[in-house]
């Protein structure tokens, strides 16, 4: 049962990377970011559940809960920035955010 869940996690990472590279709406980018974090969470919980057969370990679950809550904080800041982007640029198209050359 371990392998299908790991494959699912890899698939989530692939979906997230696809979103980063092909989507131009800021909210879709934020969703991709969330999917990437959730792929990591799935990996943590899976290893916690299947590492030792017979019981579920507690530490990975608490790490996953910590990660979910911190992802909530990151998303809040990202959405606030999205509002600021909309006020300054008048658009939420990521391709218009190309003035910096970095």
């Amino acid at each position: 049962m371990l392998e299908p869940i790991l494959l699912c996690s890899v698939a989530l990472i692939a979906v997230a990377l696809y979103g980063f590279y092909s989507k131009r709406h800021i909210i879709k980018m934020i969703i991709s970011m969330e999917i990437l974090i959730n792929a990591a969470n799935l990996l943590i919980v899976t290893f916690g559940a299947y590492r030792a057969p017979g019981y579920v370990e507690l530490l990975p679950q608490s790490l996953a809960i910590l990660s979910i809550s911190s992802a909530g904080g990151v998303t809040a800041v990202a959405l606030a920035l999205m509002l600021a982007v909309y006020k300054v640029y008048g658009t939420v198209d990521v391709r218009k955010l190309r003035r910096l050359r970095g």
């Binding site: 996690s9 990472i13 980063f20 800021i26 980018m29 970011m33 990437l36 974090i37 792929a39 990591a40 969470n41 990996l43 943590i44 899976t46 290893f47 916690g48 590492r51 030792a52 507690l58 530490l59 990975p60 608490s62 790490l63 910590l66 990660s67 911190s70 992802a71 904080g73 990151v74 800041v77 990202a78 920035l81 999205m82 600021a84 982007v85 006020k87 300054v88 640029y89 955010l97 003035r99 910096l100 050359r101 970095g102």
Partner: protein
């Protein structure tokens, strides 16, 4: 002692908004600024006690026993990293008092500033991945908000969004790496991981290689190592100058700390690490230095030079001897002082003229004499003039490379030092020696608190340059503690 430092900073985070509200209501000028500087100065007292305690007993574990070994474990390496964080944090808080006086929302500014310092101190003193990740996210989230603090202008918003997306993707990849390591060894405690990875069969396990690559990417994004550096030259110039000096001075060093910690934890596998890290280090140096040559914006130039300096430190870590690691740690401290000072001086010019373009700022050092002299000291220090601190650690990095007979690498590093001297001296000549013209003729000297913030860092640059032996002895103790993994494991798992 470490809990006192963290408690003092957390207390500051909670009380700064209240004090700020009171100072707004009563109309007391600068009460909030003085209070936040006081709160950030307070942790120095437990820090000195901490340093004395660690030099006696080696590793401090707090709390002594806990569920899952979720602890703070402070050894000499962590203690060495805490010092620049507290120093640059205090200096930038003092500097902010007059730099930020035209901005609104200062209550949240100072709260986020102390939260970021709390996060950084926590990251370098964590003893397991759970604590590490918790403080890592505190540091990251507050730095996203601080980069985009002036949210009504286009540059901070765009740079902040770019930084947020890259950095949180990096955190997610780091978390995947942590998950894989947990799946292999069954613990998140650093000492437990070090104990478990001592079996040599693990070196060829594809999972551990995947986990190490994910961790390198996660820490590398924070430390701005070459292919992952693209957020830094946008985010550091766009942030307010005191925040730039914190980001460039110490926050990228938390990525370095992560690399160092795991480089040592996976010591049995360090052939892979050292080789990969040295390639990345040279890529970082060359990209940073060569791009910095062509910059017209003073803060972008300094940001690219930060990338190059991260390359030097990474190279020092990749050699992996006591000398090289202590030289790298010394350079972490020195670069924090120098780059903090330079970003603050650039910010003082920006505050006076409203421009960061070097061609506009030509000759401004003749009008703002004190700031100009402080900037010159910073530039000469980072260019490696003997008698100032940059020279000491750059010399030690090169000599550590030569001791291991890495002559090609040492030559390439020296070549990079020479390239960097070219743009530092050119910047010095344009700011200090040209005749001022246009707007620059009307500027006045920077306010006293801004000067005070810079003077703290400048005096440390000069002190370490003239009398390096004290800091060298601490950094050597840290280098020895970093490589002596047995005495790191024993107090944590045996106690």
């Amino acid at each position: 002692m470490i809990e006192l430092i963290l408690w003092a900073l957390a207390f500051g985070c909670c009380t700064i908004p209240m004090v700020g509200w009171v100072s707004d209501k009563l109309g007391v000028k600068h009460l909030r600024e003085w209070y936040s500087s006081l709160v950030l100065a307070l942790p120095f007292i437990p820090y000195i006690l901490l340093l004395r305690l660690i030099s006696r007993i080696g590793v401090i574990v707090y709390p002594a026993s806990s569920l899952f070994h979720s602890i703070l474990a402070v050894d000499m390496v962590s203690a060495f990293f805490i010092l620049p964080i507290l120093l640059v944090g205090l200096a930038s808080s003092i500097y902010s008092a007059s730099y930020m006086d035209h901005d609104t929302g200062l209550n949240s500014y100072y709260t986020l500033l102390s939260a970021m310092i709390l996060g950084m101190v926590g990251v370098v003193s964590a003893g397991d991945f759970f604590t590490f990740f918790l403080f890592w996210e505190i540091m990251s989230i507050s730095s996203y908000a601080l980069v985009a603090f002036r949210k009504d202008r286009w540059e901070p918003v765009e740079a902040g969004f770019k930084y947020l997306v890259m950095s949180s993707a990096g955190s997610a990849l780091m978390l995947s790496g942590i998950a894989i390591i947990y799946g292999i060894v069954g613990t998140l405690n650093f000492a437990g991981i070090a104990l478990a990875t001592r079996t040599p069969t693990l070196a060829s396990d594809p999972w551990i290689i995947l986990a190490i690559s994910l961790l390198i990417v996660g820490f590398g994004i924070k430390a701005a190592i070459a292919p992952m550096h693209t957020w830094l030259p946008d985010a550091h110039p766009a942030a307010p100058s005191p925040i730039s000096s914190l980001l460039s001075g110490v926050m990228i060093k938390t990525g370095i700390y992560g690399l160092l910690r795991f480089y040592i934890l996976f010591q049995t596998l360090h052939v892979y690490w050292g080789f990969i890290l040295s390639i990345l280090a040279f890529l970082t140096m060359f990209i940073g230095n060569l791009t910095a040559m062509f910059q017209t914006d003073i803060k972008r130039l300094l940001a690219y030079s930060s990338i190059a300096q991260v390359g030097y430190i990474t190279f020092a870590l990749s050699i992996g001897t006591v000398q090289s690691i202590s030289a790298g740690l010394l350079h972490v401290f020195n670069h924090a002082m120098m780059k903090g000072l330079l970003f603050m001086a650039a910010g003082a010019f920006y505050h006076a003229t409203g421009s960061r373009d070097i061609s506009v700022l030509e000759g401004i050092g003749r009008r703002m004499r004190v700031t100009g002299i402080l900037l010159s000291i910073g530039l000469l220090a980072i260019a490696g003039m003997p008698g100032l601190n940059g020279f000491v650690s750059e010399l030690l990095i090169v000599s550590a490379a030569i001791q291991r007979e890495l002559y090609i690498q040492a030559t390439l590093t020296i070549l990079n030092f020479v390239i960097s001297v070219a743009y530092y001296l050119r910047l010095l000549q344009r700011i200090m020696l040209r005749e001022p013209k246009g707007e620059v003729l009307k500027v006045e000297e920077a306010p006293a608190t801004m000067i005070a913030g810079m003077v703290i860092l400048t005096s440390l640059c000069i002190f370490v340059g003239v009398y390096p032996s004290m800091l060298i002895s601490i950094s050597e103790a840290a280098g020895r503690a970093a490589l002596d993994i047995g005495s790191y494991i024993a107090p944590i798992l045996g106690g």
